[in-house]
Subunit: 452 residues, 2 copies
Amino acid sequence: MAQTNLRLDARYLEPEASREEVLKWQEDVTLADERLLSGKGRGAAFRGWLDPCALAPDSLLDEICEAADALRSNSGALVVIGIGGSYLGARAVIEALAPDSAQRVYFAGNSISGDYHARLLAKLQSERFALNVISKSGTTTEPAIAFRIFRQRLEASVGREGAAKLIAATTDANRGALLKLARDEGYRRFVVPDDVGGRFSVLSPVGLLPIAYAGVDIRALVRGAAACAAACANRSLDANPALYYAAARNTLYSRGFTVEMLAHFEPRLAFVAEWWKQLFGESEGKEGKGLFPASLNLTADLHSMGQYAQQGRRMLMETFVVVEGGEEGITIPANGGLRDGLEYLAGRTLASVNHEAYRATALAHREGGVPNMTIRLPRLDEENLGALLYFFERACAVSGYLLRVNPFNQPGVEAYKKHMFALLGRPGHEEQTQAIREKVEDGPSGCEITFA
Amino acid sequence: MAQTNLRLDARYLEPEASREEVLKWQEDVTLADERLLSGKGRGAAFRGWLDPCALAPDSLLDEICEAADALRSNSGALVVIGIGGSYLGARAVIEALAPDSAQRVYFAGNSISGDYHARLLAKLQSERFALNVISKSGTTTEPAIAFRIFRQRLEASVGREGAAKLIAATTDANRGALLKLARDEGYRRFVVPDDVGGRFSVLSPVGLLPIAYAGVDIRALVRGAAACAAACANRSLDANPALYYAAARNTLYSRGFTVEMLAHFEPRLAFVAEWWKQLFGESEGKEGKGLFPASLNLTADLHSMGQYAQQGRRMLMETFVVVEGGEEGITIPANGGLRDGLEYLAGRTLASVNHEAYRATALAHREGGVPNMTIRLPRLDEENLGALLYFFERACAVSGYLLRVNPFNQPGVEAYKKHMFALLGRPGHEEQTQAIREKVEDGPSGCEITFA
């Protein structure tokens, strides 16, 4: 069993979430984690992610790698069609671990922008591309639209049979429009598990197929997650950083901290932060509750959001994700003629300067009234990133139970869809259509302000 | 004089920021705008952006276009070195208006990541690139480091004299390390105006040179801003959407709405939202006050942040930026065999479906307790984007005065720098260095939690 070397530095949680205060949650945390594992908590039908090795057993990993290899050898790029959890996990891992993969992975169906999709089609003009369409039902509007468009393009280019060899469908095991089509056409098929919600699905075929296509070692990714899962068997807050994180953020939330910023210092972690925003925002943001999740891409955002973080409304807490080792990378060159005040840094690596920027920021934000903690990864590689993903998933589920919400549903996502279907005149929504069209009519209203 | 066709739809501000409530701010708004224009308000030394034609007169625009053309004809890419306001404005405009420009623009010096800069150098391996280094002093850590690295690479590739022809320095008019170097080496020089802060500098040479390099019509951009400035002469809230926006967000802030989300439906507007976050966050986030700015990239984020927006903690307000016209783009193909529930949309453009998604979202969020308003642009082009940038700048300055802060300073940005210089052992910081190193020492502390 691989070890999990993620560590949590909690020193800057003092005084609002002191060690003493956080440890008071031990009993609640133990109960929450018991409910989670025993299936007695809310949303218990969606715990399929709890055991990474059961979610992605070796046989499935073999099958995914085989499919990825086959697609890779017949294409120069993969277009992944999916939205939400069928998009963010794969993008997060690919950008973090294979940012310049020779086998490019593009994402479609994650918006309804005609401009975006037209530009992507143009980019793929002379490229032989493969398609991975990911949708449990096959009828979610955004990916369904994109799949129509890209499948048409692919079939026009290589014919229907040729296209079938280049398409993989990740969908429900037993039902749905996409499953039927995939069977009829003979697409490669992978399953969106029934017991895993979208935001917890990165280590299922939903995320793993595109991740494998990009050349990332998915076995090591799952191994890292499994190691973290095993380590989570210990429920003592003192010995379980994931549970400590859950308790600390609830401590702060109960004291009026209502926004959590996830901050990192590597541009290629930007989409890990986006994935994290969905995980926590969608799991906890309900019943009028939840920390509002935001991301800081540093040091860039120190020069944009830094002022607010330092001195704005004091309702912020912050979690840093810091990579400690790995590439030392570029060294700052000496430069006698240039009086840029940097001569004392000549010969230092960017990594070492970046690390001091982190330490300075954590201290400055603490002094400015932003309690913060740091999750440290020894390196940015498959095993550690797998562990980190699991760390957040486990922490999120427990944190949701501590907040007394169902961390596994997302009832609010339906609201805009319902209105959109009515506005679009979807069959079956005729009654609502007329009413809502009158309601949202674009024409001049008493509430439109124009420049006189 | 070009007209400004930006409009503000305020219908969904009811009831918390009803028309009646917003109009109560008229007197305060008039005073704030008078103070702004007369230079009697706080931070009055930084109002150089108020008149776009004075900030970027025709002669300067000619000079910038000439320099951009010369750089373009001698390079395949431009590396822009800058951070904060010397980065976000240019990136926002270029991604919005020239997302696939043949003359690629890359950004460096906006982080201290060794990985990021190593990958960028590798990408430029066989590319003849030009450099635009943007720094008032020349000593801001991030861009100074990047400039050392990229200048060295350029000189190694084309020699010192060759490099000098490919480098443009945008810096202080009269002093500083970068100015001296630029003079000595004979770089092209442009001025960071003394009376314009970074986050208000997009329509100065800071933003305009890289924007012009990307092929955007900077004259039209400035023309649009100037039209908006002229329209802002009318201080009646009823006839000035920028001032109405400032009053409405202060109305909501005073009623406990503490987070503002800027939402849009076009992926290429993502960095306009990032630019907006800096503008408002840095201008208002001080003295323990200010709306926390966040962005929503829709419809993608409806499937991640949408749940929180709909049902999370009720402290959110939202501003949509919606492009009404322009490319109709792709049409959804008919597809007899595919039972994806989309047949009723066959033949419709993505643009029209995307617009219904916006209308559905604005209504759903209103119903969920998120007061929101919409800024409508007739098209996404130079004139309208220029107008939008000015709209936000003007609204931001007035909004800051309404909040009773100095919207033009950023004292909090120094905190992390001070600690970083001490940690890095910068000459002159010796005294602090020892003290802070002990304080932040990474070694095991009572507050580190590891997996047992």
